[in-house]
Symmetry: C2
C-alpha cells in the first residue's frame, strides 16, 4: 500500500487510491471494537507503525491492558496497546454515537494525510470464525493470535456474510476504477471475506478496469504471516499458480485478469497464462519503499 | 468510608459494612461506562487513590486520552486516565457480556480486599441531568466538571428513575442493618439519586435500624466539593440544620433518626432536636484515619 502510494504520487499524481479493507478480523474486545486491518493500514500509511515488531503503534505501552488482566477481565492472549486503544475507543465512541464503520473510519483516518481513502469492505459485523478439526469454532483472532494458526482448520466461516452489504463506496470504487489491484494479502482470510460480501464478486467481474493480483506466495512460501495454514484448510496449495487458480480468470467465473508472480516463480507463468490469466514474473520482495513502489509499478504495467 | 472501616475493624470485627453507592454520576464516555462514585470509593478503600490530586488513581497517566483528543473524539473537559480506564473497560466488558452493574462491581472489587461490600444503588442507567437557568439540560458530569457547577442550576433530573429498581441486596442491606449511616456526601446529587430510587425511602422508613446522618456542612460551608450550588438550586440553605430538615425525621415522612453536626454548629443541635431528630455536636473534620474513625464512632454512638 505504501509502495503503491509512493508510485502513484510520483508518477500518477492526479490519481486517487481507494483501499477496500477486510473487516473479518474485527472483534469486540473488552467492550471496544477493534479493526486490526483498518488500523494496521492506517498506522502504516501514517508512519505510526512499529517497524521492528511488525504490528501496532510505534512507542506503544500497555498500562491499560495490565489493569484489565489484574481485574481478570480480557484475554490473556491479546494485548491492547494504550495508543492503539485510543484508536479503538475513538471508533467505539463513534459507533456508539450511531455512525457506521465507514463513517467512523472516515473520521478517524482524517487525523493523518494518508494519501489513500480507506473503506471497510462492509459496515456490517461480519467476523471470521474458524472451525478446527475437533469441531470447535472460534474467532479468527483467537485461532491466529492465541493458537498461532497451529490448530488444523476445517473451514472458515464469515459470520452472517449473506446478510451483509458492501459499505457505501465499495462497489462504486470497483466500478469506476482505472485498475483494481488484489493485494498480496492472505487469500483465505484477508481477501476471501471481502469477496464473500454479496455484490463484490459481481462488481469485480463487471468492472471495465483490469483486475490484477499480486501473488502472496514466493517460491512456495508465504511472504509473511501464516497463510499456508489457511490455504491448506481450503485445499489450495501454497504455490503462486495455485492461488491464481483459486481466484480464477474473469473469463470463466473468476475475479482476476492478471497475476504477478515473483521472478523465482517464473516457471509458473506459462501455467497461469494457460488458465486464461495474463502473468509476468518480477522481483516481488518488498524490502523497502523503492522495491515496494516497483512492485506497484509492475502490477500497473501488467494491467495495461 | 475508610474511617468507618477502621473503626469497625478495630472495635466491631464481626460486623460487615455494605456501602450503597450513587450511580447518578455514571455515564457513557467514548464508548466506555464510567462510574465515578463506585470507582472513587474502591480506589480509596484499596489505597490506590491519588491523595494529592483528590481524585483518580495514584501514578496515573493519560496516553489514551491524548490519542482520543488527537482523533477529535471525546470530551476536552473530561480526561480518562489510563489506569482508571482499565477499570472502565473491565466494567464495560462485563456489562457487554450481559452482567448487571452490581455483578460487574462484585467482579471488579474482588481484585482488592476492601473490607466493604460496594453495591450500586441500582443496576439501571439512572443518570443525573442538570437543567440550568437558560433552559439547557446537560449531564451532571458536564455541569460539575466542565462548568465547575458555576451555571446556576434550575433543577436536577434523575433520568428515568421512576422505571428503576434498587440493585439486588440494597433493600435487604437496609432492612437487615444494625445501623444505617447517611454519609456526609452531597445531599442533592449523591444521596438524592439514591433516595429517588423507588423503594429506597420506604426501606429507610421501615428498617428497625437507626438511620444516622453525618452533616456535610460545617460552619455553613461544604466540607468538600460544590454542594452549596446544588443545595441552592433546590432551595435548601447551606447549613447543617437545613440539610437535616431536608432529609427530615422518620417520625414525619423523612428518612433520618439522628444527625451529627460539627462542634462549631453546636448551637443548631437544639433546633434539629426540635424537628424530632436526635442530634449531637462533635469534631467532624476528617483530617486523617484517626479523626475519620472517630467520626464513625460518634455516629454509631448517636445511633444507640
Amino acid at each position: 500500500m505504501r509502495g503503491l502510494r509512493t508510485h502513484v504520487l510520483a508518477e500518477l499524481p492526479k490519481s486517487e487510491i481507494t483501499a477496500i479493507v477486510n473487516v473479518g478480523d474485527d472483534m469486540w474486545l473488552s467492550g471496544v471494537r477493534i479493526a486490526p486491518d483498518l488500523d494496521t493500514i492506517m498506522y502504516t500509511l501514517a508512519g505510526q507503525n512499529d517497524e521492528d515488531r511488525g504490528w501496532g503503534r510505534a512507542g506503544e505501552s500497555e498500562r491499560v491492558s495490565a489493569e484489565l488482566r489484574a481485574y481478570g477481565v480480557g484475554w490473556p492472549w491479546f494485548t491492547l496497546g494504550d495508543l492503539d486503544l485510543g484508536t479503538h475507543l475513538a471508533r467505539t465512541s463513534l459507533l456508539r454515537d450511531g455512525l457506521t464503520l465507514s463513517q467512523a473510519t472516515a473520521r478517524i483516518t482524517a487525523r493523518w494525510d494518508l494519501g489513500v481513502r480507506l473503506l471497510p469492505s462492509t459496515d456490517s459485523e461480519v467476523e471470521t470464525h474458524v472451525e478446527v478439526n475437533d469441531g470447535r469454532s472460534m474467532h479468527f483472532q483467537e485461532w491466529w493470535t492465541r493458537h498461532r494458526a497451529a490448530l488444523p482448520a476445517r473451514r472458515f466461516i464469515f459470520d452472517s456474510v449473506e446478510q451483509s452489504a458492501p459499505a457505501p463506496g465499495v462497489l462504486e470504487a470497483i466500478a469506476e476504477a482505472d485498475v483494481v489491484l488484489v493485494a498480496p494479502s492472505n487469500p483465505v482470510v484477508s481477501i476471501g471475506p471481502i469477496l464473500a460480501i454479496p455484490g463484490v464478486r459481481h462488481a469485480l467481474r463487471s468492472t471495465s478496469a483490469a483486475v490484477v493480483g499480486v501473488s502472496p506466495i514466493i517460491s512456495g512460501r508465504v511472504v509473511r504471516g501464516m497463510a499456508d495454514a489457511c490455504l491448506t484448510a481450503i485445499g489450495v496449495q501454497t504455490k503462486a499458480h495455485a492461488v491464481a487458480a483459486h481466484y480464477g480468470p474473469r473469463s470463466t467465473d473468476g475475479v482476476i485478469d492478471a497475476w504477478l508472480v515473483d521472478e523465482t516463480d517464473a516457471s509458473s507463468v506459462a501455467a497461469i497464462e494457460a488458465m486464461g490469466i495474463r502473468s509476468a514474473a518480477v522481483a516481488l520482495w518488498m524490502r523497502d519503499a523503492q522495491s515496494s513502489a516497483q512492485v506497484a509499478r509492475d502490477a500497473l504495467v501488467l494491467a495495461e
